[in-house]
């Protein structure tokens, strides 16, 4: 089927690329269908595009790419909603906030997007207790400054 996207125009997607978010995501509760489309061949960043509204498109990435020690404790309730049968079903994504200066990009490690890649279900996980915040810089402070010097 063809869908309208905010950044890629009209895109052909298969039914099995569509993820159902039964509760939407906080602030966008009435958006219950999303597709994840890679930004480029590197596959580092993905568009999380709502099927309901072309303008609702978040940027996500694999949190372990920037935070190798990242951990969450998924509750029974979430596993049930997502129909998770085993750890191999689960994939984690983190929503990025990209400000004017892209080097200051932050990841929302407090509330990751959890998807079941087998059942095509997803939710944004809201932990009961967490040491993480909604704003973790994805680059260390040194890199944020040096980044301007290309090739260094």
């Amino acid at each position: 089927m063809q869908i309208q996207t905010k950044y890629l125009g009209t895109v052909d997607v298969e039914e099995n690329q569509i993820f159902r978010f039964p509760k939407g995501v906080p602030a966008f509760e009435d958006h219950q269908q999303f597709v994840f489309l890679p930004f480029d061949d590197e596959g580092t960043f993905f568009y999380m595009q709502s099927l309901k509204d072309v303008d609702l498109c978040l940027i996500v990435c694999d949190p372990f790419r920037f935070f190798p020690d990242y951990q969450i404790d998924l509750g029974d309730q979430e596993c049930e909603v997502l129909e998770i049968k085993g750890p191999e079903d689960i994939a984690l994504l983190t929503i990025l906030t990209i400000p004017e200066d892209f080097r200051q990009t932050t990841a929302n490690l407090l509330a990751p997007v959890v998807i079941n890649t087998r059942a095509n279900l997803g939710l944004q996980f809201i932990p009961e207790n967490s040491d993480y915040t909604t704003k973790h810089p994805i680059f260390p402070p040194s890199q944020q400054k040096n980044a301007a010097g290309e090739g260094k």
Binding site: P26, F39, T97, F102, N108, I138, A147
Partner: protein, 85 residues
């Protein structure tokens, strides 16, 4: 808003299936126990608001996004190089 007074150990029941118990009171801190069916989600209000606000902020970034994503991809390649070095 309905306001009820409860002592430590006392409960209120909402509908047929939600029970809220005052577990402990220490100064201005109240510990609350909640029994609710699994389909009812319970969150600390300020945490939920914070996540909502972050999602809304994450959406406000269309200006030059593709250029930024390209630069971010390049910058993240540097991280890999550093890791391997």
């Amino acid at each position: 808003m309905l306001v009820l007074s409860r002592k430590k150990g006392q409960s209120i029941v909402i509908g047929d299936s939600i029970e809220i118990t005052v577990v402990d009171v220490q100064g201005d801190m109240v510990r609350i126990g909640i029994n609710a069916p699994r389909e009812i989600t319970v969150h600390r209000q300020e945490v939920f608001q914070q996540i909502k606000a972050e999602n809304q902020q994450a959406l406000q970034q269309s200006q030059g996004l593709e250029i930024k994503l390209r630069q971010l991809t390049e910058l993240s390649k540097n991280i890999d190089k550093k890791d391997k070095a």
